[in-house]
């Protein structure tokens, strides 16, 4: 058993560390520890910062603010800046303590109200509470006679002199006189100035911390600072100004916030960071001038203002092109981009309703979208279906009567759950080659799917309706049979999606979620596509065994026992989270896999936790499984790159991820054994995870999932000829 921290201790450790790391939009513990070390270069400063963080968080906890927000340091990071600035400006005495404590209260009040207001507009509040609190205290403190300014606040030289006596002061500033290019020296100094320090060593440590936290964030800080440096030069501003306390930090914060934190990093966000720098410079100088009237420092006001303005600008768009905003915050630009890339590739259409084909068996699309015969103009997004034999004939015998046609009187099924809103059942079948343009649509059924879309099925056989207006039908239920009524020279089914319940409305382009297309007599799986003209298509024949085995509903437990060692047992429980997403949770490794079973496909779409856990292997193994035992179909997909990749190569990849990918992590699944297609009792699916660098195979893992009558029965992990087998069982 691993030694585990008391959850309370863990909570407070996380709260405090996160309050530090949040300054750089991070939850990275190593970075937090580096920041703490840096602040303690001046012990009193460090102490004030820590005290402010702890006090604020205790207060927030006492007043029962959101536990998760406290833990993420959302209340702490403003307090840190406030503590640091107070410790920097005033000497310790009784009035200071009183002001310090009340400033914590003030800060929390400000945070609370600003948070409430800003959340409504989907805007971040950044360091506004800190700025407000600080300004008021600074303005008021001038009237408090017993508040004493630090000497060093009046003269920087004093500050240096007062501390240069201690031995670690010289250590902290040991790098200051090194011969480093001015740009990098300024960059390091700017970083340390964020925490009211002036040490190159501190800046270097912070830079390393940033690099460790995120390659993307690190490179953006360099780009942000670099463009500020260039802008200052061009505009004729002194670049030394940047290294002043919380001045250059504006540019660094902006680069992280708008380059990779609130948006998914890509070339456009990098470009916007560069283009926004002159604007930020103007804002900074402007604010500086305004605030100077009140003898105030604007600190990060320019960054806060520009970030909020820009995010509200992004929010205001109607089409989210070029720059995508982050919806689920992982506090890691790498995670964000890899998961974003993978999910846009995998689930670009997952918001669409999952329509099936409205027929059974294999049908031919006789006229597709924009068909030349009748699918014209506003009615171009429609499909016509017939049945054809190997010779591409749609009838047997002479084909003089409708009964000769294969399609005639064949069941027509509902493509999706919905209400029957309209049935017209008054048109007789045409003689072959006859068309009835008076009753263009013939006998027609319209379904309202209650999600904004309607489907229309036309040319049905008179009196073949199995449902009535008002009935609720479920996907796949027979509603009528195919006929040849209306504008139909031979029996066929007309199918269209539309946006109103009126018969013959204009059509709406809409894909079929999953279907099989026959190519050279082999089935090919199509996902979210519109069937093409002259293809032979059919629905996916789902195996109940697979569908039920992977129907992991909340409350169930998946138990795994390692073959050969009974004491290695895992119990994974199924839960749903606040967003109604279902996930498997492994308490042993504190890991979770989010998954979906939509009746045709089982797929995992996220993993969080320990990548050495068995649950992680399960995630890799079940990344995308077709719930039908077609042996000819190989299901392919790719993982987010953070999930299956070489670590060293990945960190190189990180720098370039917003622009191009040279590594690749792919998934493949194949049914290797199935005893019976229609009522299988035993199915084995083999899946493979492969990582490639420059298209060369680097690493591979294979898995085998065995399903029997009782559900998932075995899970085998194979790597380099070795294998581990887990016996699985579902407990309700």
């Amino acid at each position: 058993m691993k030694w585990q921290l008391n959850p309370k201790v863990k909570y407070w450790r996380d709260t405090i560390l996160n309050s530090y790391a949040q300054i750089f939009f991070s939850l990275n513990k190593t970075l937090a520890i580096i920041i703490i070390l840096v602040t303690f270069i001046s012990p009193f400063l460090g102490l004030c910062g820590l005290a402010a963080v702890i006090l604020t968080n205790i207060l927030a906890k006492i007043f029962h603010f959101n536990n998760n927000l406290i833990r993420e340091g959302m209340y702490g990071f403003n307090a840190l800046l406030l503590g640091l600035v107070l410790g920097f400006e005033y000497k310790l005495n009784l009035p200071f303590i009183i002001v310090f404590i009340s400033s914590i209260f003030l800060l929390l009040f400000f945070t609370s109200i600003i948070q409430q207001i800003f959340v409504k507009y989907k805007l971040p509040y950044l360091t506004i509470p800190f700025l407000l609190t600080y300004w008021f205290i600074y303005l008021a403190a001038g009237s408090f006679n017993f508040m004493v300014l630090q000497d060093n606040y009046i003269y920087i030289a004093n500050f240096k002199a007062s501390e240069s006596l201690s031995s670690y002061y010289s250590f902290a500033h040991s790098m200051d006189d090194w011969q480093i290019p001015l740009f990098f020296k300024s960059y390091f100094k700017t970083l340390s100035a964020t925490f009211f320090q002036n040490s190159v060593l501190a800046g270097t440590l912070l830079a390393l911390g940033l690099l460790y936290f995120s390659r993307i964030a690190f490179s953006l800080t360099l780009i942000g600072f670099g463009s500020a440096f260039v802008t200052f030069r061009i505009l004729g501003l002194d670049t030394v100004l940047l290294t002043d306390f919380l001045v250059g930090s504006n540019f660094i914060f902006l680069a992280i916030a708008l380059g990779c934190f609130y948006v998914v990093p890509n070339k456009w966000t990098y470009l916007s960071v560069i283009l926004l720098t002159p604007a930020l410079t103007i804002l900074y100088i402007g604010f500086q001038k305004i605030f100077f009237t009140f003898q105030l420092k604007s600190f990060t006001t320019a960054f806060v203002a520009l970030t909020i303005i820009f995010i509200s600008f992004l929010n205001n768009r109607w089409v989210f092109k070029y720059i995508q905003q982050v919806i689920i915050q992982y506090y890691s630009p790498e995670k964000t981009i890899y998961k974003h890339l993978s999910s846009t590739k995998r689930f670009a259409q997952s918001h669409l309703a999952k329509l099936q084909l409205p027929v059974w068996g294999k049908w031919k699309v006789s006229q597709g979208y924009k068909g030349k015969i009748t699918h014209l103009g506003d009615w171009s997004s429609a499909l016509d279906f017939v049945i054809a034999n190997d010779q591409d004939k749609t009838y047997k015998g002479d084909g003089f009567v409708v009964e000769d046609y294969f399609a005639y009187n064949k069941p027509v099924v509902a493509p999706l759950d919905g209400y029957v809103t309209d049935i017209s059942n008054n048109v007789d079948d045409n003689p072959i080659s006859g068309v009835n343009t008076q009753e263009n649509w013939g006998n027609t059924l319209i379904l309202d799917h209650k999600n904004g879309i309607f489907t229309q099925l036309s040319h049905l056989k008179r009196d073949s309706f199995k449902v009535q207006v008002g009935d609720y039908v479920s996907k796949g239920q027979i509603v009528a049979t195919c006929g040849s009524s209306g504008r139909s020279p031979e029996p066929h089914l007309h199918f269209q999606v539309q946006l109103s319940a009126v018969k013959g409305s204009k059509t709406y382009e809409y894909p079929i979620s999953y279907f099989i297309e026959m190519q050279d007599e082999k089935p090919i799986l199509k996902v979210f596509e519109v069937p093409k003209e002259n293809t032979i298509v059919g629905n996916v024949e789902v195996a109940e065994l697979l569908k039920k085995s992977l129907q992991l509903t909340p409350g169930l437990t998946l138990k795994l026992i390692k073959e050969g060692s009974d004491d290695e047992v895992y119990s994974w429980t199924v839960h749903t989270d606040a967003y109604n997403r279902t996930y498997l949770y492994c308490p042993k490794s504190n890991s979770s896999v989010w998954f979906v079973n939509d009746g045709v496909m089982f797929y995992c779409y996220d993993f969080e936790g320990d990548k050495k856990s068995v649950l992680f292997d399960f995630y890799l193994a079940t990344y995308r499984l077709l719930l039908a035992p077609y042996r000819e179909i190989e299901v392919k997909d790719s993982y987010p790159l953070i999930h299956f990749n070489n670590r060293l190569w990945l960190s190189f990849q990180d720098f370039f991820a917003p622009f191009a990918l040279f590594t690749d992590a792919s998934f493949e699944a194949k049914v290797t054994q199935c005893d019976n297609f229609f009522s299988p009792k035993q199915i084995t699916i083999q899946t493979t995870a492969t990582s490639r660098i420059f298209k060369k195979k680097w690493d591979q893992k294979q898995f085998e999932l065995q399903f029997t009558k009782n559900g998932l029965s075995q899970f085998k992990i194979m790597k380099n000829q070795n294998y581990i087998n887990y016996l699985c069982e579902i407990i309700s």
Partner: protein, 452 residues
């Protein structure tokens, strides 16, 4: 110009004014090619007589049948009825199309295994299964369709020594309104023996009841009897679900679908009276769909139709040996094949076509086979063009049963040829020779020598 062939003189009775529904015209068309291969070449290469099977026709017929069912019902599985034609090449055409195997004897079972059909995709029917047969079927996880109580008890006895469960179904016979009622196979529905067999199986923990089977007859000309049979099987399925809380996987409607062959004594041509595969499919599937199963509990529909899938693909090529005038003046033609290899001539008035061009004259005749037996009649009465010795004929729709029920009587069985999808003929069964027959004979020593 080609030399005109000799045509012997005939005297035909002139029928004037005698009206009948069909007039006097006879539709004889020469069949000179099968799937693009000249009949002359086939006979030259493979001898006369010989059977020819068209792979293209098999696949087309099979796909038509699958289409007829699968566009009406979501779960359909065909199983090739071995007894109809168990030439390995024929079986493998069906298996390659996705068909399972349906066997009725251990001989057929071994043949299916030999063809590479997995044990769990073999349906074992028939009244004759020995202890050994059952044991092997259990071990191979095959579907055992129990025919009678003695088989049920025997299986129970065998299972005591087996660790494995047996997947079983029962064959049910019932009154579907047709005569004769096939009540000699399986357990009767109406008198309750079927239900009693089901109860016995349910009580046996080592038997897993997977389905229910019936086969109501052969060459069934009425689809309504399938509706009755299907609905009775559905009744059983539902009752089993309610009483025993077991959902069976499949119902097996067997076969018995008719082909376009004309039955002997039938007034109308076969093709005009038989239901099409679509008619059977419509009745069977709509009965199940309207029965009221929950969509996810719809049973898989098994079909074991044999005749309807292979009959049209088989041809028999033969030659005229001699022409005769019978005592009553009728013309008789003697062919080089008879009921020894065309067993179905007992049931059908097979369509026979000349394999070469002919003139418009035709005459009524009897077609005899080459056997020294009075019963060897291929057609009692047929109107054909004037044939000469050495002319070739093609007999249609002989794919079913002939190549399994043929007999070796005074002659050896001929070659069987399959024409593949590209029109290439392949020998799939060689003709028998004296050696084939005598190899199995044994001579007692005291009879080995004699002097005449």
């Amino acid at each position: 110009m080609e030399k005109l062939s000799y045509e012997r003189p005939i005297i035909n009775k002139l029928n004037t004014g005698l009206m009948n529904k069909f007039g006097t015209r006879v539709d004889n068309t020469p069949v000179t090619h099968i799937d693009g291969v000249p009949v002359k070449k086939l006979i030259a290469d493979f001898g006369s007589p010989c059977f020819v099977i068209s792979e293209r026709t098999i696949r087309e017929t099979y796909r038509n049948a699958v289409r007829a069912f699968s566009t009406r019902y979501p779960k359909v599985q065909f199983a090739w009825s071995y007894k109809t034609n168990y030439l390995n090449a024929v079986c493998n055409v069906f298996h390659s199309e996705g068909s399972w195997a349906e066997v009725v004897s251990y001989f057929e079972y071994e043949k299916a295994m030999g063809n590479g059909v997995p044990g769990d995709k073999i349906i074992f029917n028939g009244p004759d299964k020995t202890a050994r047969d059952l044991k092997i079927a259990v071990q191979n996880n095959s579907l055992i369709h129990i025919d009678h109580f003695d088989e049920l008890y025997l299986l129970a006895e065998i299972l005591k020594e087996e660790s494995q469960k047996a997947r079983v179904a029962i064959r049910v016979n019932m009154d579907t309104g047709v005569y004769p009622m096939w009540d000699r196979f399986g357990f009767n529905y109406e008198n309750g023996t079927a239900w009693s067999a089901i109860n016995k199986i349910m009580a046996n923990s080592q038997m897993e009841m997977t389905g229910i089977h019936c086969h109501i007859g052969t060459y069934m000309m009425s689809t309504s009897s399938y509706a009755v049979a299907t609905s009775k099987l559905c009744d059983l399925l539902k009752n089993i679900q309610q009483v025993h809380n077991v959902t069976l996987e499949y119902i097996d409607l067997g076969g018995g679908f008719a082909t376009a062959n004309t039955l002997r004594g039938s007034y109308l041509q076969g093709a005009d009276v038989i239901p099409t595969i679509d008619d059977y499919a419509e009745v069977i599937t709509s009965t199940i769909l309207n029965y009221g199963f929950r969509p996810e509990q719809l049973p898989t529909l098994f079909l074991e139709t044999g005749r309807a899938l292979i009959d049209d693909a088989g041809y028999l090529l033969g030659s005229v040996i001699a022409l005769k005038r019978l005592s009553d003046g009728r013309r008789a033609t003697i062919l080089d094949f008879g009921i020894n290899i065309l067993f179905t001539a007992f049931w059908y008035d097979h369509k026979v076509s000349p394999a070469q061009n002919f003139t418009s004259q035709s005459e009524d005749m009897v077609l005899y086979g080459p056997l020294c037996m009075n019963i060897d009649v291929v057609r009692e009465n047929i109107n054909l063009p004037l044939l000469n010795r050495g002319d070739h004929v093609v007999v249609h729709r002989v794919g079913a049963y002939n190549m399994t029920q043929w007999m070796q009587f005074i002659q050896m069985r001929p070659k069987v040829v399959m024409i593949d999808m590209q029109g290439m003929p392949h020998l799939i069964r060689n003709n028998e020779s004296l050696q084939t027959i005598t190899a199995h004979e044994r001579m007692p020593d005291h009879l080995a020598q004699f002097n005449l």
